[in-house]
């Protein structure tokens, strides 16, 4: 039992965060079923799925600064899951747009992507997330080699910035909400940048060496 505790000091953490993270999709389905999504349920579901995807993109970026600044290591163990949840909600957002909102009218969808910058940027955000999701496994890290994997995963900084832009360009007038997310994101990126200056050698790389590739469980350096 002692060894088990050592490798996983908070065994409840990941399943608990995952369970809580599925509340939004459960809520949207329940509300859709009960006609409680307002007069335009498709727009409501579309907007809320996109917003939750952005929340997870930003949350995933918050893990490293928390470790660097507060000294908490447990958020690092959530980072991959948060990123995958962002991909999950972004995927549902895209499916809601293409299948439900546009009724798979590819001509209209392509027209939207090419002609409207906010949809283009939103679509680009989703496309960026695809390689990140595919290479999120431990074996992908080993296959790519950590330096290349890390380079690829720098897209995790670009994606939320594009998502904030997508959100800002979408709203008609009241940009307070997208700006709030933009501000949080800017602070996280600034914290990340300052942290990079202080610690040139990545902790994740040290741990990947020490624990034979499994950087996700070894949160205690």
């Amino acid at each position: 039992m002692a060894a088990w505790t050592k490798t996983s000091p908070f065994p409840w953490l990941k399943p608990a965060v995952l369970t809580g993270s599925l509340v939004p999709i459960a809520a949207i389905l329940v509300r859709a079923w009960g006609n409680a999504l307002g007069a335009d349920p498709i727009a409501q579901a579309l907007n809320q799925l996109g917003l939750i995807a952005l929340v997870f993109l930003v949350a995933a970026l918050g893990c490293t600064p928390l470790k660097a600044m507060v000294g908490w290591t447990w958020p690092m163990r959530l980072r991959r899951m948060l990123g995958l949840l962002a991909f999950f909600y972004a995927g549902l957002h895209v499916i809601t747009y293409t299948v439900i909102d546009q009724g798979l009218d590819w001509h209209a969808i392509l027209d939207d992507i090419l002609k409207r910058k906010f949809i283009f940027v939103g679509f680009a955000t989703f496309v960026l997330l695809i390689p990140l999701a595919i290479t999120s496994t431990n074996s992908a890290i080993r296959r790519l080699g950590y330096p290349r994997w890390k380079q690829l995963h720098r897209l995790a900084y670009v994606a939320p910035a594009l998502a904030v832009l997508h959100f800002t360009w979408r709203v008609k007038r009241d940009i307070r909400e997208p700006l709030t997310y933009g501000l949080v994101l800017a602070m996280l990126l600034a914290a990340r940048f300052l942290g990079q200056l202080r610690a040139p050698v990545s902790l994740a790389w040290q741990t990947v060496n020490r624990s034979s590739g499994d950087i996700w469980k070894s949160d205690r350096p």
Binding site: G20, V23, P24, D40, A43, N47, Q48, I100, A108, R173
Partner: protein, 330 residues
């Protein structure tokens, strides 16, 4: 061993190892529940978005709203199309004076007091005057007009308005020869309209029409919908309805109508001149810079439908714009 004093046999005593496991299990379960519910709760809270604060007020508007009105005449200008349910018409509103979320007005507009209310008619008119709203409404028989309403955000409704032609009022007060435009002003009162404290738009909301648009028989001042007085969130006590233009032209809670010689400023045009023009005629061929206007979702329907030029009222109004480049005068 039969003479053991206690009632619990030694082999029934939970080993310490398992006993500690049990405590840990309970502790972990509690932590699991606390963490998952706080993560879920935070996400649900974020999903609500940035809503205007609840400005609920003891004034009860529903009492006046529910009084049925006498209808002189009914005309269906969207024949064969299902009317949007009252519930949707009165809970899905763009009325930024009460918050920018479409559910905000229904929740917050109870602070608006639609009576007593006066309308100021001034400028290039022969008989400028300040009229009490009920007196004004007694001048004209109320007609029911079922109109399509197309929002610039690419959704639409079919609404049975109750009102009278704006032209009837303008003829009654008499226009001077210099009256070329009509300028409308909404109420400015941050006590009654709490979101006027925010700078999301320049307050008060102002709108305008060319005089021929204002005199067109389809242009009405509405004081009711679905046979009853206008609910606060729909622009009580009186609002403009111009069915061939995007919804934002339909200025709500009007306090002033001024006849002018020059084109008046309009709120959304001031806010984003490249996105919202003075005319704002529904036009599927002229996209909003950020989204398509070629289709719309009728509230309550699943599939998008094609948007019609002038919102389907071309036969009546297209001649007003003959010879004009509608992509320039959007």
């Amino acid at each position: 061993m039969a003479s053991y004093s206690g009632s619990v046999a030694p082999n029934h005593i939970t080993p310490e190892r398992v006993y500690l496991r049990r405590r840990e299990f309970i502790r972990n379960s509690l932590l699991f529940a606390a963490t998952s519910s706080s993560v879920g709760g935070t996400l649900l809270w974020l999903m609500r978005g940035l809503r205007a604060k609840d400005h609920k007020h003891p004034v009860n508007a529903t009492a006046t709203e529910s009084r049925p009105l006498t209808i002189a005449q009914r005309t269906d200008y969207a024949p064969g199309e299902a009317k949007t349910p009252y519930e949707s018409v009165t809970t899905y509103n763009n009325f930024y004076e009460f918050g920018t979320d479409k559910s905000d007005p229904a929740q917050n507009a109870l602070t608006l007091r639609p009576r007593p209310w006066t309308l100021n008619i001034e400028g290039e008119v022969e008989r400028p005057q300040v009229i009490d709203i009920d007196q004004l409404l007694s001048w004209f028989p109320l007609e029911e007009r079922v109109y399509r309403m197309r929002c610039v955000e690419a959704w639409s409704m079919v609404i049975p308005w109750l009102g009278f032609p704006l032209g009837d009022l303008l003829r009654r007060v008499g226009l001077t020869s210099r009256a070329k435009y009509v300028a409308f002003t909404s109420l400015l009162d941050p006590v009654q309209m709490p979101e006027q404290r925010s700078a999301v738009l320049d307050w008060p909301y102002v709108e305008g029409l060319r005089i021929d648009e204002a005199m067109h028989p389809l242009t009405i001042l509405a004081a009711g919908l679905y046979g009853r007085r206008l609910p606060n969130q729909n622009g009580a006590p009186m609002r403009l309805v111009v069915p061939w233009k995007y919804g934002f032209k339909g200025i709500k809670s009007i306090v002033k109508i001024r006849l002018t010689g020059k084109a008046p400023p309009t709120t959304w045009n001031l806010a984003a001149p490249s996105e919202y023009g003075f005319y704002a005629n529904v036009n599927p061929a002229v996209d909003h810079p950020r989204w398509s206007q070629s289709t719309e979702r009728r509230i309550g329907e699943y599939h998008r439908r094609a948007t019609l030029p002038f919102n389907g009222y071309s036969d009546q109004v297209a001649r007003l714009y003959s010879g004009m480049d509608l992509s320039r005068f959007f």
